[in-house]
Every structure is written in C-alpha cells, then in structure tokens.
C-alpha cells in the first residue's frame, strides 16, 4: 500500500512528497494557506503561499512575513507535486487547495460556501479522488435563506430601529462577514459606522471591492452622531465598555448559529440574522457530489454525524481532528479587537 498523499499529523495537514503543510496550526517550513481567518493562517511559518488577495490580508494580520501570491487555477509544482488554488467562496481571497501527484488528486476545502455573496469569487467545484471538507453546519437543521432576503430583513430592521430612535449595532466577524454585511447595507437609511478592527480590515479590502462609505468610531464620535445609524462591530465587542457609547441601541448578530433560538438567547442579542459563510447541510452534499470524490474526510464541525450519514450514502467517509474552529471563533483574535477599540 502506498502512503496517502496527504496525512494529518500534529502540525497539520501534511504532504510529505512536497514537504508542504496546508493551513498548519504549528510553525512549519512551508505552508499553503486557504484563507485569512486566524484558525487557518497562523503565526510563525517560514514561507507562506496563498492567493494574491489573501497576501494583503494575512500581511495585515500577521505583519512582515515571507509570502508568495498565486492566482486561482495557477499550477505550481513542488518536488513533482502539482498544487493549485481554486475559489472557495468563503470570504474574499479564500481558496480550496488542489494537490495532485502521479494522477491522484486531493482537494482541501478550507472553509467554503456555495452561494455567490458578491464579495468573494464564487465557489468552483474541483474534480478529485479525495475531498477534505469542513462541515461546520453539517446537520439537516441548517438551511440558509437566500442572502437577498436576509439583507432585506437586515435593512428593514435598521430602518425600524431608526424610526424608534435607536442605534442599530450589528455584530459580524471583522474579516469576511463584516464586508459582506457592509456591501449590502442600504445607505439611504443612514450612515454606517465601524469598529476599528472592522475599519482596519475593510481598508485592506476596499481597493478590490466597491463598498459604501464608512466612518470609523473614535473617541470623538458622540452618541448623537451614532443615533439612528448602524454600527458594525466584531462579536467580542458585545458587552464591552466600548459599546456603551451607542446607548440607546438594539443589537443583532449575523451568523449561521442564529438558526438556533438557544444560541440567540445565549448571546443575548435582540435579533439574530441567519447568515453564514459556510455551507449548510444541502450545500455540503451538493459540493461533495460535484467533486466526484469517493473518499471524504470531514475535519471540523459535526464531523461524526456528517461522516456517518455519508457512509450510509455509500461514500468512504471518515473524520480527522484538526484545530480549525469553523464559525465559532473565526477571524480575529481578542488582542486584535482590543487594540482597535
């Protein structure tokens, strides 16, 4: 029996033939990075390879690093192993990583979703033999609504709050979710204010995407400035002293977890909008079918349940434990947010 092309070891997903790691969680020599969220792009690797757009993002997050940018579908060879990046549709600059050696093809999804969100390049299915997939929302209880409908609800919520003389505070992760929200907020209703962590990240992305105007919240911003307008803030700002500036305010969170009433109550937000940058149950099944893969490896999320279901559907499916965290703590670290408050 030959060795598998990709194995899971203590540092991450490893291609021995090329001596390369995919999204490793401990420092290694050479890392191919799927996207810019903190649980996938970590400090301390000697060399980073990632999509051109993500180069800007991880440089902003990680500081000066040795990083090479690649285009989607551009093949690069390391010790006879062919690598290429393909759109994952998760957030701007996110990729699936295709690995080919002697005719055998593996694809690692990183994180992904199928709906075109208008900010990230939409997901493209890549044919492969083995498919390493996330399944953050791998339960039939998760079914997303079209984002056009969700944004209608969000803008309606904002307009209603404004009528009631309240400031709207909307929570979303500073990389990805925040820009997706920003893109579709209706500025006819009012002005968009941003938390520093979100403004910093948006500045990096603004040259590539057409966003509405935003105003950074500073010490000089007054309650009166904010009243009736909308504030985009990272989830960790909830319950902080920073948020007292917004009084009187109404809070909402935009996340896949908002599908559960319990999760909404636990986070003590007034309103939950179900909006995720990950696949729902049906999207996962659709994506897997489109790859034509027979071997499926489920990494983070409801892995045990999802792989059992896949096995019943006739796939050779198993789970591997990783240190990826899905939608629970993605993107920013607490220090990044605190610094920018």
């Amino acid at each position: 029996m030959t060795k598998p092309l990709l194995v899971f070891n203590k540092n991450g997903i490893f291609c021995e033939q090329a001596n390369v790691y995919l999204d490793p969680w401990y420092p290694v020599d050479r890392a191919i990075i799927s996207h810019g969220h903190a649980d996938h792009s970590r400090y301390g690797h000697r060399k980073y390879i990632t999509h051109h757009t993500n180069v800007l993002i991880i440089k902003h997050r990680l500081g000066p690093i040795n990083v090479t940018g690649k285009a989607y579908n551009e093949t690069f060879v390391i010790n006879n192993v062919k690598f290429s990046l393909h759109p994952a549709g998760h957030i701007i600059g996110s990729s699936q990583i295709r690995v080919e050696y002697r005719g055998e093809v593996w694809v690692f999804t990183g994180d992904y979703k199928l709906e075109d969100d208008g900010v990230a390049v939409p997901f493209e299915a890549v044919k492969c033999h083995s498919f390493i997939t996330e399944c953050t929302f791998g339960l039939p209880a998760f079914k997303w609504t079209l984002q056009s409908k969700v944004f209608e609800d969000i803008n309606h919520w904002w307009a209603t709050n404004k009528e009631d003389n309240q400031t709207s505070v909307l929570f979303g992760y500073s990389l990805g979710k925040a820009q997706r929200l920003l893109k579709y907020l209706n500025t006819d209703i009012g002005k968009i204010y941003t938390h520093g962590a979100i403004e910093n990240m948006t500045e990096v992305i603004r040259p590539m995407v057409d966003f509405p105007e935003t105003t950074r919240i500073t010490k000089e911003t007054t309650k009166k400035d904010l009243l009736g307008n909308i504030v985009l803030a990272p989830p960790s700002a909830h319950g902080s002293t920073w948020i007292r500036k917004m009084v009187p305010y109404v809070t909402a969170s935009a996340s896949g977890w908002m599908a559960f009433r319990g999760a909404r109550r636990r986070r003590a937000v007034d309103k939950g909008f179900v909006l995720s940058d990950h696949c729902d149950w049906q999207e996962l099944l659709t994506a897997i079918e489109a790859t034509g893969a027979e071997k499926i490896i489920c990494t983070h999320g409801y892995t045990e349940i999802f792989s059992r279901y896949l096995r019943e559907q006739g796939y050779d499916a198993r789970t591997e434990s990783t240190q990826f965290e899905g939608e629970s703590s993605e993107s920013e670290t607490k220090e990044e947010v605190d610094k920018a408050s």
């Binding site: 339960l139 039939p140 209880a141 998760f142 079914k143 599908a259 559960f260 009433r261 319990g262 999760a263 909404r264 109550r265 636990r266 003590a268 937000v269 007034d270 309103k271 409801y302 349940i305 059992r308 279901y309 019943e312």
Partner: protein
C-alpha cells in the same frame, strides 16, 4: 395563528422586558376573545393534553424531511428543542395559515381521540403547509411546555395594560383551575363572580435572600424571626365547609393530603392559612426526601400514609372570618393566628404553629441560624413586624437567611447538552467522588447551574476535546476537572449508586487549582450527614 406566530417571533426578537410586554399587550388588544383565553392558558402552562406522542412526531418528521431517524435524533440533541428541530428540518415554505389559534387548539383537542393514520395526515399536512414560525408554534402546541422567555408575571402585566384591570387582581383571577376550552374571556378576566372566589387562593408573597449582613436591617425590635421550613409552601383555604390546599405552583393538591381533610369541619369558615407541608415520620419533622415519597403519587397507600404522614406548619393568616387580612401588619395577623391555634390545640389535628424565635440581638439570630440543620430547617425567615402580605417576590420586608450550603470537591465524569438557551452546549454535568480505597470514582450528583456563561463555554470546549465515549446525548469524559459542589442537605439513599442523595446540588466554583487526586471521597460525604 398568523398573529400568534407573529407574537412569538416578536417575543423571540428581543431580550428587553418592556418590548416583550408591549408586543403582548398589542396582541391582546387585537386578538379575538377565544385567542386571548388560549394565549393566557398557554403562557400560564395550561395546555391541552398532548394529542400525539413524541415518538410518532420524530418518526414522521424524519420521513417528511427524508433523513434517517438517527440523524433526526442527533439533530434534536443538538438543537435542544423538539418543536424547533422539527420546524428546522422540514422543507420550507412561505405560506401562512388563516386558521386562528383557538381553532387549532380545538382541532388538537379533538385529535387526541383519532387513530394514528388520521393524526399523521393532520400533522404532516400542516408541517408541509406552514412557514417556519407557524410550523414551530404549531408543533410547540402539540408538544407543550411553551417556555419562550415570558413569565406569567409579564403576561399578566401586558393583560393589565390592555384591560386596565389591576395587575394583582388579574394574578388572583388567573390562579387556580379553569378550562380554556369552556371559559370565556368575559368570565375569566372581565367579570367578577362571588362563587369563583370559593377556592381562590391569594398570590403568594415570596422573600428574597438576604444580601447584606443581617445587622444592616436595623433594630432587631422591628423584626420577627422564625425558621424557614423545608417542605412545600402551601395555602390552605377553609370556606363554606370546603377545604382547598394549594401548592406554590398554583396547583390544587387537596386530594394528596388526606390528613388535612378534617380541617374543613374543625377550622372556622373564611380562613386562609399560609404554611409549609412537612413530612412527619415518627412524630418528628423529616427530610425533604421523605416528602418526595408523597409528591407525585397518584394513589396513596395506607402503608405510605402511616410511614410518612404530613403536617402543616402555619406561619401566616391571610383571611379570617372571610376578611382579607393582607393589609394588616404581620404581628396583628400572627396574634389572630396564635389565638386560632390555641383554640385548635385540644383537637389533635396535624397542624402546628411555626414558632417565633425571640431574639434580643442579631448575634442571637445568627446563633439560631446555626441550629437550622438540627431543627430540620433551611435557615431563618426574617419578617418586618409591620409588614403587609404582598404579591410575588418583593424586596424589603421579608428576607430569607439560609444556612451556608454543604460543599464537597468532586470530579466531572459525564456531560450532557443543555436545553433552551444552553442548547448545543454541554452544561448538564455528572460528578463523582472517590470510593473507599480511592481507586474508583463513584457518581454522586448531577448539577446544571453555578458557572458563568464564559465558564460553561470553556468547559464545553474541554468536554468536546476530552470525550471518551458517547451514549446518545451523554458523553463520558476523561476524569480531570474538579468542581466544588454545594448542596442543601444529604440523606442516605438506596436508590443512588453512591448510597447518598443530595438536595439541590449546584456548582459553586471550578477548582482549576485542584487535581482529581485531591477531590473528596464518599467517606468525606458521609461525615456531612447530620446525626
């Protein structure tokens, strides 16, 4: 239904009490009388009997959503609410229903008598036709237990805003037994009828736990001290030769305590007593565990009545000779109560006065509190001598000063996902102590509360990484984390693996400084049993 589902959606969309009340009041304003009555019934936990058992609901939901039953069950464990799980997995539609809430409830009451095929068609047709929120509410009406973050108190407040009737009077009207299927809104809420009042209890006045040093309450002369009995709070009513015994859960429990039936003829009509039902085996106050043998028992055997008789320990008089005494000062009510009790003393009834403990100083009060376990009480009640009998939980005049709980350090061994706002988080824990030779951990208690949300999240993440085995919703975990567990009492028990039953165990704190070897043993637990 559309309006009711919309109300539930609105209540779900805010954490602010004022907005919830506003949404409810607006609903009450616009709803039909039938829907008003049913809404009051549902929000005060008076739902019709469950027309379909949940096993069938699960089966049908998994068929309709085209997923295997095990996958539905796993989803349910994670979502934490059956109606919500069903609403989530079934394919979505945007359509509405024109039927009213009361029409649905009438149908569900009739449904109970139908055969399974009919039930299946009825239920699955609705699942297919209703949008997410209506589907959720529809299913919730079937499964019952409508807990949606609206207390009866909030509901009463909203109803008061709509009708202009005083909140306390409304609370009084809504107490007790009434059938939403037959009563009209006029009869339940608007009209006043003398006969309704025969069995009606008064809303209970509840005390807060003491927050400061007892001495900060001021002059000891202004306060009355008695023990806080550990039984079932109850109101005993004697009117027109009838006896009614109410528990604090507003449940009529007269039939469960035949010992009290002679009160109907021996205590004068127009009397309402506030007191505690206590177990009285061997002519002495027993433990709450003794009382548990009586609670929930549908038929009472002669043997049980002999083994565990009950008594009523009375501490307040709310009505005397048909007059409402609640606005009288506490000492005056007690004086009449004392007279009543001495007039009964020759009759050998199972009724006792909760004695006032005379204390000259707060130090003496503290000493009396130390005697609580010996007295089989939970601590002390401190009542202002001139206090009126108020409605609900109010600060200021009545305080409870409980004994410090017993505590022990135990090891986390099993975890289960919580429900409601804790769904999808492992928050329900089982704890173990070392056995005699210190080689084996033996389960001794379960606890669900006591950690902060942040701590629960941390422990939850740890559990997910340290699972040994899964048994449905339960996981066994590597014995590693130590917690200090507090509880109110302990008794020997043959039904528990450890041999001991604890009362109201909860987590006091996470002992991150302790290793499992430092956790306590069953012998340590035994030393806590009062002699």
């Amino acid at each position: 239904m559309r309006n009711f589902a919309d109300l539930i959606r609105k209540l779900d969309s805010t954490t602010k009490t004022t907005l919830k009340v506003k949404a409810l009041a607006k609903f009450f304003e616009n709803a039909s009388d039938e829907d008003r009555v049913w809404t009051i019934a549902i929000l005060s936990h008076r739902r019709p009997p469950r027309p379909v058992n949940t096993t069938l609901l699960r089966k049908w939901a998994s068929e309709l959503s085209n997923i295997p039953l095990w996958l539905f069950e796993e989803s349910y464990h994670i979502v934490g609410d059956l109606a919500e799980t069903i609403a989530l997995v079934i394919p979505n539609t945007e359509s509405h229903s024109d039927k009213s809430l009361s029409e649905y409830l009438s149908e569900m009451i009739a449904l109970k008598a139908e055969d399974d095929d009919f039930k299946k068609t009825y239920v699955t047709d609705h699942w297919r036709q209703l949008n997410y929120y209506e589907r959720f509410v529809f299913t919730k009406l079937i499964t019952g237990g409508f807990r949606i973050g609206v207390s009866q108190k909030l509901m009463t407040r909203a109803l008061s805003q709509t009708t202009g009737i005083d909140e306390d009077i409304l609370a009084y009207k809504l107490m007790g037994k009434w059938d939403p299927n037959t009563i009209s809104f006029e009869d339940l809420v608007l009209k006043e009828k003398a006969s309704d009042f025969l069995s009606k209890p008064y809303p209970f006045y509840l005390a807060y736990g003491l927050e400061t040093a007892a001495a900060d309450l001021g002059a000891i002369e202004d306060w009355s001290i008695e023990h806080k009995w550990d039984g079932i709070r109850s109101q005993t009513i004697i009117r027109e030769d009838h006896l009614f015994v109410w528990s604090r859960g507003e449940e009529l429990v007269t039939d469960k305590y035949p010992e009290f039936h002679p009160f109907a003829t021996e205590i004068p009509n127009g009397t309402v007593l506030d007191g505690e039902i206590l177990p009285f085996p061997d002519k002495a106050i027993g433990t709450f565990k003794d009382l548990q043998t009586r609670i929930g028992r549908k038929t009472l055997s002669k043997a049980l009545l002999e083994k565990t008789p009950v008594i009523l320990k009375v501490y307040d008089l709310l009505e005397w000779k048909g007059d409402d005494l609640r606005q009288q000062p506490f000492v005056k009510r007690r004086a009449i109560l004392k007279d009543l009790m001495s007039s009964l003393s020759s009759k050998d009834l199972p009724i006792y006065l909760s004695e006032i403990v005379e204390c000259q100083s707060w130090d003496e009060v503290a000493k009396e509190r130390d005697r609580a376990r010996e007295m089989r009480s939970e601590g002390l009640m401190i009542k202002r001598k001139d206090s009126t009998y108020q409605v609900g939980r109010k600060k200021g005049d009545w305080w409870k000063w409980k004994t410090d709980p017993l505590t022990i350090d135990a090891v986390l061994t099993y975890a289960m996902r919580g429900h409601g706002r804790r769904s999808n988080l492992f928050t329900d824990y089982t704890f173990a102590l070392w056995n005699a030779n210190g080689e084996e951990l033996v389960t001794f208690a379960k606890a669900y509360s006591g950690l902060t949300d942040a701590e629960f999240r941390k422990v939850d993440a740890w559990i997910k990484k340290n699972t040994i085995e899964r048994f449905g919703p339960v996981r066994s975990v590597t014995p590693k984390l130590v917690f200090e567990i507090a509880f109110e009492g302990i008794a020997k028990s043959s039904r528990h693996k450890s041999g001991y039953a604890t009362r109201f165990p909860r987590i006091l704190r996470w002992r991150q400084d302790k290793k499992i070897e430092e956790a306590n043993s069953l012998q340590d637990l035994e030393t806590l049993i009062p002699v």
